[in-house]
């Protein structure tokens, strides 16, 4: 019985340490890139949020501009609903990045531009193909 009590104390101690550790890391991340707040573009612009954020939206058609001197430098307009925001990104772009693509960017907003250091594309169109999207099919329609 005595030894069981000791074990209970030990287990309780370990749990306390772990909760402390997880709580501590959650509130003091070592790397500034560890956390990002997911906000809407509108919220970002309204509140002028300058900490690290994550945004989702579509790449506005025809808005991608690639720098002539450095191919990696790229700006585009991110559209979420009717709100638009200029985004700057200077790393290798994912294969599926193009006009109209659904993207998630992570970075920081500063003086009207969003400086992204992460750019993820979603490829929903081919993974869960949209049946009603006739272009997806190479169709031969029958005359009705």
């Amino acid at each position: 019985m005595q030894s069981n009590k000791k074990f209970m104390v030990m287990i309780g101690g370990v749990i306390a340490v772990v909760i402390f550790w997880i709580g501590w890391v959650s509130s003091n991340p070592a790397d500034e890139k560890a956390m990002a707040t997911f906000v809407s573009v509108e919220q970002l612009l309204d509140d002028n949020i300058n900490k690290r954020t994550k945004l989702g939206g579509l790449v506005k058609d025809g808005s991608i501009v690639i720098s002539e001197t450095n191919y990696l430098d790229c700006t585009f307009i991110l559209k979420e609903g009717h709100t638009e925001l200029a985004v700057k990104y200077d790393k290798t772009r994912p294969d599926l990045f193009k006009d109209g693509a659904e993207v998630i960017v992570t970075g920081q907003y500063l003086d009207g531009t969003f400086y992204a250091d992460e750019l993820q594309t979603k490829c929903a169109s081919r993974y869960e193909g949209d049946l009603r999207d006739e272009n997806a099919y190479n169709l031969t329609e029958i005359d009705t």
Binding site: M1, S3, N4, K6, F7, M10, I11, V14, V18, W21, I22, V25, S26, P29, A30, D31, K33, A34, M35, A36, T37, F38, V39, K54, G56, N70, Y71, L72, K91, T92, R93, D95, L96, K98, D99, G100, I104, T106, Q120, K122, C123, A124, R126, Y127, E128, G129, L131, R132, N135, A136, Y137, N138, L139, T140, E141, I142, T144
Partner: protein, 654 residues
């Protein structure tokens, strides 16, 4: 016609699953043997109809019957035959059917294997399995039916085709292995549940599932490693693990399952930790279902982004039902779950196992916390905060290192209590080796976690070798055998123990590989033919650029000559930029893809990506990464598989 047969087979299977449950519940009430036999056969019939449905769907995929919506979505006439079959698990409804298919294979094996065994346990085992089958049958029958006809008022001449990222051998086998693992835990769970129902939670049910658990664990491990390998080879971000929600979804049950694999040894040998083992297997199984939920619900945005669907709430309710029913039953049975024996000492094998178990569960909780952090933070503070890999690394590296240390310490402790003398005797050599290792790594200029991790690797390797050496020495002295004969006999006499040590060795090698991550280097640059650039002491010269049209894509091929700092030739790398569906008149439907090239040695990998091409000016845009020690991770994986196979190899009946 055939699609209708497929749908009908699923209907029938659903009906039989209800009948199975009813007849067996009546059996547990009445004890009429005939009802038990009926239940057994009905359960085999469920599986039989699931097999038929699965074969019909794979046949329809092979003959490209685009009248079926699923076939039209995930394959096209050009899709190679192998990927037509693997399209079975490319989409939602198909993969649910595939899950059900594997579950039915396992259910069939369980029923046939135990026809004349475990008469007390089997009724509830079959009921539990039939209920799980029923859940997936509800999904495939009523929520997303894989045999749904194409909903279009035109004839579909060709299908969508499979995502090129998935046209890869690893990707064809990674999901099935992961599924074999996920689904495999249904069987131990069913036995656990049955033991609870029967009020017999001693070691009987544990003995009947030991091998099942190892098989499921092995497949889950292989599935996870293959997933990492595929990401490394195909996705082009230079890593194998990103703490993506879906990766975490497979890692969490792996952690609890690993804890379970260890703690069942104690219940088998000492009849302790009954409650704990129940908790672990229930957690593992619910985490497997929860993993499917995370993958399929679209709650989390991830690279695996499947579209949101109606499945989320259904899965979540199933998870809650399992938890409530199982834990509720545990509460009712709390008196039966009391173990007759108690822990005796901190320095015992039992307490070592208990510690290791707690750390595994803690790590699982940490991963769970990070994965659902956006959900928690939104609920508490109203802002959705996502956490990235640095968060997971910061939180898990210390926990992982504690686990690594326990891997070495545990096996050296004796059952019940380890005496001071034997503590000193067992630990002197491994600790000294670890310290010498640490001194060398510090001398080489490494710091912090790297030194701790590598010296722990040395320490654990030393303990494993001492264990082997001690066993061999005892045999050579006693039976006068040669070293190799002694090794062979020792391992085959005690497969689970030495197999386990070999798995530990594999884990150590993987940790060496993980540690290499601290030294990763990367650089992005552009080159024209003849130019060169430097990364991490290597020079990369673009010597050629060419183009080629192949069967299902168009490719730009760059050729890089790699030399080291002394000008010594290392290799030529040929990363490609490809466009799939390049003949599609709609430019937006063409799909670019970077095919990378990797030069891999024990020491480091040189990883090259051809990210883009500027045809007008003949410029290639290249990304190079130099990743040390990655190969150790894969080698560790092979050793882990080898060790597990030894541990679960059946004994000769004697």
């Amino acid at each position: 016609m055939t699609p209708i047969a497929g749908g009908a087979a699923l209907n029938l299977a659903f009906g039989f699953s209800i009948l199975t449950v009813i007849s067996l519940i009546f059996y547990t009430r009445s004890g009429d043997q005939r009802l038990f036999l009926v239940g057994q056969r009905l359960s085999l019939t469920i599986s039989f109809f699931v097999f038929i449905a699965t074969f019909i769907l794979s046949y329809q995929l092979m003959i490209s019957n685009f009248d079926i919506d699923y076939v039209a979505r995930y394959t096209s006439l050009e899709t190679p035959i192998m990927y037509k079959i693997s399209a079975m698990w490319a989409g939602q409804s198909g993969s649910l059917l595939f899950w059900l298919f594997i579950l039915s294979i396992f259910a069939t094996i369980t029923v046939i294997q135990n026809q004349n065994k475990h008469h007390g346990l089997m009724p509830w085992v079959i009921i539990t399995l039939a209920v799980i089958q029923m859940f997936f049958l509800v999904l495939t029958n009523f929520v997303t039916n894989p045999f749904m006809p194409t909903d279009a008022d035109f004839v579909v001449a060709n299908g969508n085709g499979l995502n090129p990222l998935l046209q890869n051998v690893t990707m064809a086998i990674h999901p099935p292995t992961l599924y074999l693992g996920y689904v495999g835990f249904s069987v131990p769970f069913a036995f656990a549940f049955s033991a609870l129902m029967n009020k017999d939670t001693s070691s009987l049910w544990i003995q009947s599932i030991r091998r099942w658990t190892l098989v499921a664990w092995l497949f889950l491990s292989i599935g996870i490693i293959l997933g990492g390998w595929w990401a490394y080879q195909e996705l082009g971000w230079g890593g194998y693990w990103a703490w993506d929600p879906v990766e975490n979804a497979s890692f969490m049950p792996w952690l609890t399952a690993t804890a379970f694999v260890h703690s069942i040894i104690i219940q088998e040998k000492k009849d302790m930790l009954r409650v704990w083992n129940m908790v672990l297997i229930i957690l593992t199984f619910t985490l497997c279902i929860f993993g499917t939920f995370l993958t399929r619900s679209g709650v989390m945005s991830s690279v695996h982004s499947f579209t949101a669907s109606a499945l989320g709430p259904i899965f979540l309710s199933f998870v809650f039902i399992i938890m409530i029913v199982s834990f509720g039953l545990m509460y009712i049975r709390k008196n039966d779950l009391r173990s007759p024996r108690k822990m005796e000492s901190f320095t015992s094998r039992e307490s070592g196992f208990l510690f290791n178990n707690m750390v595994f569960v803690v790590m699982c909780f940490a991963v769970f916390w990070g994965t659902l952090f956006p959900v928690f933070s939104e609920a508490v503070r109203g802002t959705k905060i996502t956490v990235g890999p640095p968060f997971f690394n910061q939180i898990n590296i210390p926990i992982g290192l504690i686990l690594l240390a326990l891997t070495g310490i545990g096996p050296l402790l004796a059952w019940r209590k380890t005496s001071k003398e034997s503590l000193i005797r067992n630990f002197t050599f491994p600790i000294l080796s670890g310290l010498v290792g640490a001194a060398i790594f510090l001398f080489l200029g490494y710091k912090g976690y790297v030194v701790i991790s590598l010296s722990l690797c040395v320490f654990v390797t030393a303990t494993i070798f001492t264990e082997f050496a001690r066993g061999i020495k005892a045999r050579t002295n006693k039976f006068n055998e040669s070293i190799f004969v002694a090794l062979w006999r020792m391992v085959s006499k005690n497969r689970s123990r030495y197999g386990g040590y070999i798995v530990h060795l594999g884990i150590v090698l993987m940790f060496v590989g993980f540690t290499g991550h601290a030294f990763d280097k990367e650089k992005e640059f552009s080159l024209t033919v003849g130019e060169s650039d430097h990364v991490a002491g290597y020079e990369f010269e673009l010597i050629k650029m060419s183009e080629a049209e192949r069967a299902n894509h168009y490719a730009w091929i760059s050729e890089l000559r790699v030399t080291d700092h002394s000008g010594q030739f290392i290799t030529n790398l040929r990363p490609e930029k490809r466009v799939y569906f390049h003949k599609n008149p709609d430019v937006n439907r063409r799909q670019p893809h970077s095919e990378l090239d990797i030069y891999s040695t024990m020491n480091k990998d040189i990883y090259s990506i051809f990210s883009a091409v500027d045809n007008e000016n003949g410029i290639a845009f290249i990304k190079i990464m130099v990743n040390p020690l990655v190969r150790w991770v894969w080698i560790g994986g092979y050793i882990l598989v080898f060790g597990t196979m030894i541990a679960m190899w059946p004994r000769k009946e004697s």
